[in-house]
Amino acid sequence: MTLFSSKNGQLLLGPLSKNNAILVQILGICSALAVTAKMEPALVMGISVTVVTALSSVLLSLIRDIVPTRVRIIVQLVIVSMLVIIIDQLLKAFAYDVSKQLSVFVGLIITNCIIMGRIEAFALANRPWPSLLDGIGNGLGYALILLIVAFFRELLGSGTLFGVPVIPDLFYRWGYSNNGLMILPPMALILVGIVIWVHRAKNKDLIEQQ
């Protein structure tokens, strides 16, 4: 099997749209929405989750034959929390401001359903290389949705992107003002609802039967 066969490519790219963790499998929403008021924390969170998902998939795929099924949940939790502790310490050392903004949500990566979901559903039944691609793909799919939601919330709510003002002063003088509601938590939920709506309108096969 070659390293970049079309099947492996599918593992990497599928989760970006057709098989997206947030939009289709409805996993990992817990820690996703609270960090989307600004682009920067959303990007950091997306990268952190991608790294944890990819590494935990590889590690558990490597030891999948020697871990007894009965204790696998504990083993998974220990490995995932170890990786999250490393990420947390790295963020505190090199990106302290973002780490303060993310506050408890870094710790909540441990209970992110995407990670446990991919380990249970994929890594425990596959070799390390496909598991790595699957982990990266799902992490990126998650990061993509975070960035889309954060883009609209920051643009409409604060008039900035990554903290840089993008709405010209002229607009404000003509009476444009930022929409304060966008920064508040409820809009994250409504925006994800709208993203799901648009996504399913494009992919008719994902529409739920009544």
């Binding site: 409805i26 996993l27 990992g28 929403i29 817990c30 820690s31 996703a32 929405l33 609270a34 949940i73 504990i74 939790l77 220990v78 929390s81 170890m82 999250v84 502790i85 947390d88 310490q89 506050s103 408890v104 710790g107 909540l108 441990i110 209970t111 992110n112 359903c113 446990m116 508040l184 938590p185 409820p186 809009m187 994250a188 939920l189 409504i190 994800v192 609802g193 709208i194 799901i196 709506w197 648009v198 996504h199 399913r200 309108a201 529409i207 739920e208 009544q210």
Partner: protein
């Protein structure tokens, strides 16, 4: 006492786990199809929260905080900070309490156990439980009583939220929702609207 009531009300309504922090959304979305099962899950989550938050509070204060080990080692402990271990210890305690609860419920009330069966083990990876412990650590409550009030308030808030959405979804089954929004999409938007209505509690100063 007044203080405890304040913390309870604040964590139930103003800092509601679902509507303000989106914690425990996965099971909230997956299980909220009927009121009966959601009420069962809600009670179980509230129960686990009431136990794990104070237990984690004690562990945090007597083991993990900087110089917390002074009661055991005396002055030598002044430089010890085990804070980086808090994630792994909190999740281990949560998993252990859930396991214990499962065994107790199975032993003494088999009827409830059968009703909750599948949901009980899933509580261990419910973000609301872990999230409450991490918030407790960040907010630095003054006593174990305050931590318990916070755990109870968060649990009751979660219970309220899931029963509310389940009741709405039962009625929604008879409405004509646009096809791509059916199921999850409309649930997100309704949760958003419920969250906006919960924001009216922000005006209360405690």
């Amino acid at each position: 006492m007044e203080n405890l009531v304040n913390i309870f009300v604040r964590s139930t309504f103003i800092d509601n786990m679902i509507f303000a922090y989106f914690l425990g959304m996965c099971s909230y979305l997956a299980v909220s199809k009927t009121v009966k099962t959601s009420a069962g899950l809600g009670v179980a989550v509230a129960f686990v929260l009431v136990i794990t938050v104070p237990v984690n509070y004690l562990v945090d204060n007597f083991l993990l905080k900087p110089a917390a080990l002074t009661w055991l080692l005396g002055d030598r402990a002044a430089g010890i900070d085990l804070g980086y271990l808090s994630f792994i210890i909190f999740i281990a305690i949560v998993a252990a309490v859930v396991q214990l609860l499962e065994m107790i419920v199975e032993k003494f009330t088999p009827a409830l156990y059968n009703q909750l069966g599948i949901f009980l083990p899933l509580i261990a990876v419910n973000c609301a439980i872990m999230g409450a412990s991490l918030f407790m650590q960040e907010r630095d409550y003054a006593s174990v009583g305050e931590a318990t009030a916070f755990g109870l308030g968060s649990g009751v808030g979660w219970l309220l939220a899931i029963i509310g959405i389940a009741a709405i979804r039962e009625k929604l089954a008879y409405s004509n929702v646009p096809a791509p929004l059916r199921g999850v999409g409309i649930t997100f938007i309704i949760t958003g609207l419920m969250a906006i209505s919960f924001m009216s509690f922000l005006g209360i100063s405690l």
